[in-house]
Subunit: 196 residues, 4 copies
DNA sequence: AATGAATGAGCATTCATTCAT
DNA sequence: TATGAATGAATGCTCATTCAT
């Protein structure tokens, strides 16, 4: 593939991620992607076969980017194990703050029955092992409750950050709008951290 | 409104909930709803104004039904406060099990920027007060950690059950498929309950 | 037909004339007529058979009303024959001013190939004879040019008033907007009258 | 725009003029235009945005064509000023005979409140100045009545030819069918010419 | 006589995708 | 590689008309 083609492809992908994450598969038009990427529509079909292919590529790309999310957190946590939970939670929350494409694409993918996620299999799992080590070390040192497994631990942290972001619209109206103020959010997090 | 009309409207609404929750707003066709409900398409527009109106009505209906979700849990919890957390979590999890329309509609509504949720404002909030009483009582009796607020408590329980269900597709592949076996699920819940 | 029915029918007809003259046959909806007349749609079909029947009835009614347009003009003209032309032209212009339904329905009917106007045959023609008498009398007295027939005379007066009203939108933009000011209009009419 | 596209666009426009002038805006279907032009429906939207845009383009095109209507009349009239009126009237009448789209589109545009005619502003007006010169010259030479302005003069000629054509359907039935025979028409015109 | 409910064909418009250059 | 032109199957929505009470 030529250099020019790579640039075109990258532009398409970037735009697709933005638009798909905003409006989902059915809410996004191929024409819109082409126009927003300032690319001829036909290029999309040349590089990604069809709309579904483009979505899949966008999904994969987002997962890959998240995998690379720099968690220096862990290094620090190994030195200060008592800070593992707050650091990890802050990390997850921050990921969703800075990279909202992720949870949105995740949510769309989970909802859409036509979307296959087979290609995502290996992307995430690797990273978890590093976190697990840190967790076990911290637990051994008494910085995390003893009777909880790593799975449950991570599950809850992920649940908190995902739920917080993905349900903002309804939660802020039906549950409590306070938790979406900076102060309210901090307090909520503190209390949740104290559980572990 | 005549009896016949009521039946027609109800048929439409029921079908709309099913289809919208499955495929979302943009993934669902008005024709499909009409056909599945065995109703003339025009009736949808007569009763719900347009597709958006139908979606909103479906969303509202789902929220109302969930509001009515029978939680005898609470009565029992008042007598056995040490069981509040497991009972409540089981309740939430069970709600999502039995009534998957709810979290799906919730998720679609949160993702779709065009969907207005103003009509949901009052529906949910009432019920929370009853739960709060039970929570405070249990906390006083030492059955729940002291340094956690009701908001954080409820938030976490809701996050757990929502995340568990809404991310099944991706979680089971990238995280841990065990937690979706009956045994794995029970163990996960036990450990999470132990946090509070 | 009962009294109530007559009222209903009259309400429908009145509304139909208003709406058809505004928007034409294809631009007017049966539902709109029913709603504006505050009448059940089915009544329209009961009294006028269908949309085409309603239009025809509206057309006829308008023609009948115009036929009845009070032209005391003529009586006066018989006494002051030198005023026949200004009076007649003022009459025609005034008719269109006060009763715009007429020229609009006339225009729609002329444009629409589906509209039959057979029923209008006898409505208008009678009145012309009275005017003709006045014309001949005035011509004999030298108040109107000798070398013009009644047909041409009347044709021109009708053409002037119809064209003035029916092409206001385009004329005022492409030809001269002055002629639609009160002063401009008066001057135009004076000059045209002087032709005869 | 490619050659192919130009042809397609021209085919659409031509067909649109024919159909819109026949049946008006609301009486013409986009599908019908596409079918009659033997063109894919989508092309209409690609080139004219929507139905209203197509109508506007058709209107504009008709006005432009009429603007170009060859009036060698004027050259002749400058040499034989006594013939200005008959030549001009014959010109106008002939225009409507040969190009009936014009008065029909004009009539539809005037009736339909939704149709914008802003784009017509400059098209027509230029030509009038040439006619005005000829008129003034003829008037100076005593070939046209002295006490009539150019505006009134032109207005009346236009009114005659427009009214004659646009109300044929009703006039021939309610007024006088004779004037639509060749002989009757000629006589009518002669008499009207004699007015000026 | 009057009305709310229902219908099916139709309507303007858009979509994902392919063709031709 | 890149692009404008073209397509046919939808897609949300409306219409004139009829049914049932």
């Amino acid at each position: 593939m030529q250099e020019r083609a790579k640039i075109t492809k990258a532009k398409i992908l970037e735009t697709a991620i933005k638009l798909f994450s905003e409006s989902g598969f059915h809410g996004t038009r191929v024409d819109t992607v082409a126009a927003a990427a300032e690319v001829n529509k036909q290029r999309i079909y040349a590089y990604f076969r069809n709309k579904a292919g483009l979505f899949e590529a966008a999904l994969e790309h987002v997962f890959e980017e998240v995998s690379l999310f720099p968690s220096k957190t862990l290094e620090k946590a190994l030195r200060k194990p008592e800070n593992l939970t707050p650091m990890l939670l802050a990390d997850f929350m921050g990921l969703h703050d800075k990279y909202p494409y992720f949870w949105r694409m995740l949510a769309w993918a989970n909802l859409n029955k036509d979307v296959s996620i087979d290609s995502l299999l290996d992307i995430i799992s690797n990273q978890d092992k590093v976190i697990e080590e840190a967790f076990l070390s911290a637990q051994k040192k008494g910085c995390v409750k003893k009777d909880i497994s790593f799975t449950a631990y991570l599950f809850n942290l992920m649940a908190i950050s995902f739920f917080y972001h993905s349900n903002q619209k309804t939660l802020s109206k039906t549950f409590s709008s306070e938790i979406y103020t900076p102060a309210g959010r901090e307090q909520l997090m503190k209390q949740l951290i104290s559980l572990f």
